[in-house]
């Protein structure tokens, strides 16, 4: 079994003169909840469309679950997909839609019926199962699309902007639902909401101009595995500024916690009063740094 749930290498996709993907390579480990972050037009949706087989790449390869590029004959039921902006048939009911889709995923009638009930309950739509989709609110339709992606326990779930358009309560519930999938299956989601990605994901892929400038475990991307910032309360000890930063070198044999303990002991010995201790940066700061959009930062120096 492949260690990666998803592996893409050298993806290129052109729309006329625009390169939506420009040598995009990424590895999503099995069992991870992976966030795809990037500005509008960076290529996130194009990448997910290529992964789902909706869009053919001009170059590069995709491998899903070690079975090659997406092929419904092999992947239906094993990969759940929530496409962005795909409208639902309005005349059907959620039960009718999910029922047919479950059958297409290879379930028998009884199994499909059970899976539909479970999926609708998971997104709090069980009481709307037999209402026409046209009568559901935008948020309910969005939750229905998430139920469709989670239908039948897929190994890999791909969610393109799953919380967009949801009110805060619905978004929070959906985040809890996604968080509950951690360890049960691989989840790849794209989002503009960096705080959401930071709270949900343990793996991050940054997308910028059709490329992937940075990817890896969240702690690594945010520097939480090697960076500590300590903010001091004035007056500062001689030679110390308000913020004292500790960055472990890659070859430093110490663990971050031990190095932090040593630094704090050193500061206390110097008579410093400690206000805050931060491990790493926020994902937003790292993202803005990487994109060169943070005042006073130079992306090349990171």
């Amino acid at each position: 079994m492949s260690a990666a749930a998803l592996r893409a290498e050298g993806l290129v996709k052109r729309y006329r003169r625009t390169r939506a993907l420009d040598g995009f390579s990424v590895v999503v480990p099995r069992g991870s909840v992976c966030g795809l972050v990037g500005p509008n037009g960076a290529g996130k949706t194009t990448f997910l469309s290529v992964v789902a087989g909706f869009v053919a790449p001009d170059a590069g390869t995709v491998d899903l679950l070690g079975l090659g590029p997406f092929d419904a004959a092999r992947h239906a039921g094993r990969v759940g997909i929530l496409p962005q902006d795909a409208e639902l048939p309005l005349a059907s009911t959620p039960r009718q839609l999910l029922g047919v889709w479950g059958r297409l995923q290879g379930m028998g009638a009884a199994a499909a019926g059970r899976a539909v009930s479970v999926a609708l309950e998971a997104v709090l739509l069980a009481d709307r199962a037999d209402q026409r989709v046209a009568t559901l609110s935008h948020g309910m339709r969005r939750r229905l699309t998430v139920a469709a992606a989670l239908l039948g326990d897929p190994e890999l779930v791909i969610l393109d902007e799953p919380t967009s358009g949801l009110d805060p309560v619905q978004a929070a519930h959906l985040r809890q639902r996604i968080a509950a999938e951690r360890g049960r299956r691989t989840v790849l989601l794209s989002s503009h909401n960096l705080a959401e990605v930071e709270s949900l994901c343990d793996h991050v892929v940054m997308v910028e101009a059709g490329r992937c400038p940075r990817q890896g475990p969240l702690r690594q991307v945010t520097g939480a595995d090697r960076d500590v910032r300590v903010r001091l309360v004035p007056p500062f000890p001689a030679g110390r500024a308000e913020v004292v930063r500790l960055r472990l070198a890659v070859d430093d044999p110490r663990c971050l916690e031990r190095a932090t303990t040593e630094l704090l002991a050193e500061l206390l010995a110097e008579g410093a009063t400690i206000a805050e201790v931060h491990q790493g940066d926020s994902l937003e700061r790292r993202f803005l740094e990487g994109a060169g959009r943070l005042e006073g930062t130079d992306p090349a120096s990171d």
Partner: protein
Amino acid sequence: MVADGGAPEPASPAPGLGRALRSCGWIAAYEVGEAARTRLLQLLLVAYAASVALSTWALVRLVAFAERAVAERLGVPTTRRPGTLIEETLRSGSVTEPLRAFLGNGVADQLLDGSSFVALWFGATASVALPALALLSASASISGEVRTRGIRWLLSRATRLEVAAGKLLGQGVLVAVAALLGAAVAFTLSTSLMVVAEPRALAGELLLRAGTSLAFALPFVGLGLGASCWVSGAHTARAIAFGVLFALLWGYARLQDHVGPGGLGRAADGVLLLLPPSLWTDLWGRDPGTLLATAARGGVQGLLFFTLGWARFRGRDL
């Protein structure tokens, strides 16, 4: 069995032809179900039934007018419901013989040998209205879902060929339902407004004409779906489908001038067989062999148009 991470092994369709056929069947059933639930297709079906009803009513009025004129000329009272006189007249030699002399080559025999004029009238109506319905409905099938991206829900569970073939099958079923609906409307109206000596025979005749009109509509299902595979948006697909249809009619008329002995003439004849208008003359008879062969030709023409659309659909970005 437990998958990586402790999740239960998901249900996954078995690969192969059986899976593909099941997927096609489910998509076809979904297509028919959606049509039943969607107002637009309900409207198309109602429009088709209404066109048959209007046509049948017009026939009844025409027969009533003719019989009244004849009765006045002969000075005899008219019947309360029309139908008796025209049925007898059409079966008498005084009408059929001149028709045979005029049409020659057995076409008149095929038309008049046991066929009810009501059924022939219905067949003529259905062979125009049913292809139009097929073209309107099928051309919106895929293109509409491509425009809304709703097709992605299916494509994440079924291959493109399964989706397209399932929709072709579903549209075929829809047109078949419409054909039966039209026959039922024609039967109900004609038996209630006219004198029909043998209602059971008329029902059989109408079913036969529903079948022949369905065979005639098959290429149009393929043409509509083929156009639908090429573009996004139902209106664009319909415009293309009707544009191609008019081009085919024009080409058919031009090619007929070139049919004759010699290689070129035979080639033109062969091409004509691939075009839907060629079915028209062969679908009026009652010989089962001829009807089945013509229906098969209609199916092949439909598949040909579908294949042209599929060639685009299989590789395009959706």
